[in-house]
């Protein structure tokens, strides 16, 4: 018994941070149990990156390069801006559902300084975290609304050119933000040529992904999918008009935006990943509705598609 105690003490002295499960180069800057989630801000002192996570070891909800906060750290955040290439004109009004570290709205506002940006974030603690650790600033043109994304969309009177849906966490996807009814509500908040872009994570092809594809198809008839190279992220892009956008057009537009707006991301290269959604369709996947949406279970079930 005494021996075990010694061993324990020895172990604790040797590995003082062992209670903190992440890698040794990671430093915990902040943690809090908010009304909705566990929030941890973690800095990797070697990679010089800072993340916000919901579990200490989990995938990050968002993050930045400590020395270059104006850049986009994650592939999915970069890919998401391909949505701009599906627009006929410059976006004036944008809505982001889900704040995270605020990297996407911040990037958007710095490249489109005249745009009005609304951000719906459910967790009242997230804006403060984004401000303190991730260089996020609210301005006259960029406002955070602490509200459930669905409720914000339902109550919104305004229409948007761009709606970015990024409120899914890896281990928890709010089902009411996945359903056909929700997508229809989102669609009703889009201007005539408006575009909605959504970040869908599916590290292996699961039933949730299949159902999401069929649900988007039902709501928007045509949409596009970009597949992440580095991650299990898929970006869904749908237009209110539902017209098919020619691939060469989209690529050319992406190239133009990239140079006009002086973006440091290779938007054209991302645009080249353009696929129409039919290659991912699996007819037997069930459409998600307010009545039927077993999202969290579907996430763990393999797709039946070949």
């Amino acid at each position: 018994m005494v021996k075990i105690c010694y061993l324990l003490v020895f172990y604790c002295v040797l590995f003082p941070s062992s209670g903190f499960a992440s890698g040794s180069s990671e430093k915990l800057l902040f943690e809090k149990n908010s009304l909705y989630q566990y929030i941890a801000v973690i800095e990797d002192t070697v990679k010089k990156e800072r993340y916000v996570r919901n579990q200490k070891k989990e995938y990050a909800q968002g993050g930045i390069y400590v020395n270059a906060p104006e850049k986009l750290l994650y592939e999915f955040t970069q890919m998401g801006f391909v949505a701009l290439a599906f627009m006929e004109r410059d976006p004036q009004d944008a809505l982001f559902v889900g704040l995270g570290a605020g990297a996407m709205p911040r990037y958007f506002s710095s490249h489109y300084p005249k745009a009005n940006i609304d951000i719906a974030e459910i967790d009242p603690d997230m804006p403060a975290v984004a401000r303190k650790y991730f260089h996020f600033r609210e301005t006259d043109r960029m406002k955070v609304h602490v509200d459930d994304g669905r409720l914000f969309v339902k109550r919104a009177r305004k229409k948007y050119d761009l709606i970015v849906l990024d409120a899914y966490q890896n281990d928890y996807i709010p089902f009411h933000l996945t359903t056909l009814e929700f997508l229809k509500e989102v669609k009703s908040r889009l201007k005539e040529e408006g575009v909605v872009v959504s970040n869908i994570t599916s590290t292996f092809r699961n039933k949730f992904f299949d159902s999401m594809v069929m649900t988007y198809k039902k709501a928007f008839s045509n949409f596009y999918i970009l597949k992440g190279k580095k991650s299990g992220n898929f970006i869904f892009i749908a237009t209110a008009g539902g017209k098919i956008k020619d691939k060469s057009n989209v690529e050319a537009k992406a190239r133009k935006i990239q140079s006009d707006r002086k973006m440091d991301i290779d938007l054209e290269d991302f645009a080249a990943r353009y696929e129409t959604a039919d290659s991912y369709e699996w007819d037997r996947a069930k459409i998600l509705t307010d009545d039927f949406a077993p999202v969290n279970l579907y996430q763990h079930q393999k797709s039946g598609a070949q």
């Binding site: 909705y36 459930d148 669905r150 709010p174 359903t179 509705t289």
Partner: protein
């Protein structure tokens, strides 16, 4: 049979509560306020039901009256899809705040059925108590069965049932189950005096 009824009612209460969270989410989200409203309203319903059920049980209890207590929520469940969306939409439109809205919606949608289901527990206890010597055992068994039913209802619904059918279909199916149970109970006419024929004359169900 009575034990089975208690088990099923326990299962239905919790299954309904889990499904209730799905009913509320489109209009009120799935915040901690929504869960808080939902749970407190169910508990309020059950405690009211326990209280009323105990009082009712002292007035010539019969399995026919019990059957009515199970029949009523059955009807409410089957009609649920008809009234749930209009009520929830109406409260959403009123926009009474992140706390009041889901609380009010929970009261409107879930309070009455849970009162009826709460009545079942003390009422069945009274029906089954034939002797004061074993009343502790009887009550203990019923509590255990009811709560065990609740566990089964919770797990089955959240882990499995929501993948096989929609929320409304599940609630209606439970309504059908309750009605089948109620009708069976009505014709079985159970009570202590019938279980232990002529053991005492205190329980009669002539009414």
């Amino acid at each position: 049979m009575i034990k089975f009824v208690v088990f099923i009612c326990g299962a239905v209460v919790m299954s309904f509560e889990i499904l209730g969270s799905r009913v509320l989410a489109p209009n009120f989200g799935s915040s901690v306020f929504v869960w808080g409203s939902l749970i407190s309203v169910f508990l309020a319903g059950l405690s009211t039901g326990y209280y009323l059920g105990g009082r009712l049980a002292d007035r010539t209890p019969s399995s026919r009256k019990l059957s009515l207590m199970i029949f009523m929520p059955g009807i409410l469940f089957i009609a649920f899809p008809l009234y749930s969306a209009p009520i929830a939409d109406w409260i959403f439109m009123k926009d009474l705040g992140v706390r009041t809205s889901p609380l009010l919606a929970s009261v409107a949608l879930f309070l009455v059925p849970s009162v009826f289901l709460g009545i079942v527990s003390p009422y069945t206890a009274k029906l089954m108590i034939c002797s004061l010597h074993t009343s502790g055992k009887t009550i203990g068994t019923l509590y255990a069965l009811s709560t065990f039913g609740s566990i089964v209802g919770t797990v089955a619904t959240s882990f499995y049932l929501i993948t096989v059918a929609g929320t409304n279909a599940l609630i209606m199916a439970q309504g059908v189950l309750l009605i089948v149970l109620a009708v069976t109970l009505y014709f079985m006419n159970l009570s202590c005096s019938t279980v232990q024929a002529g053991s005492n004359g205190m329980m009669n169900d002539t009414r």
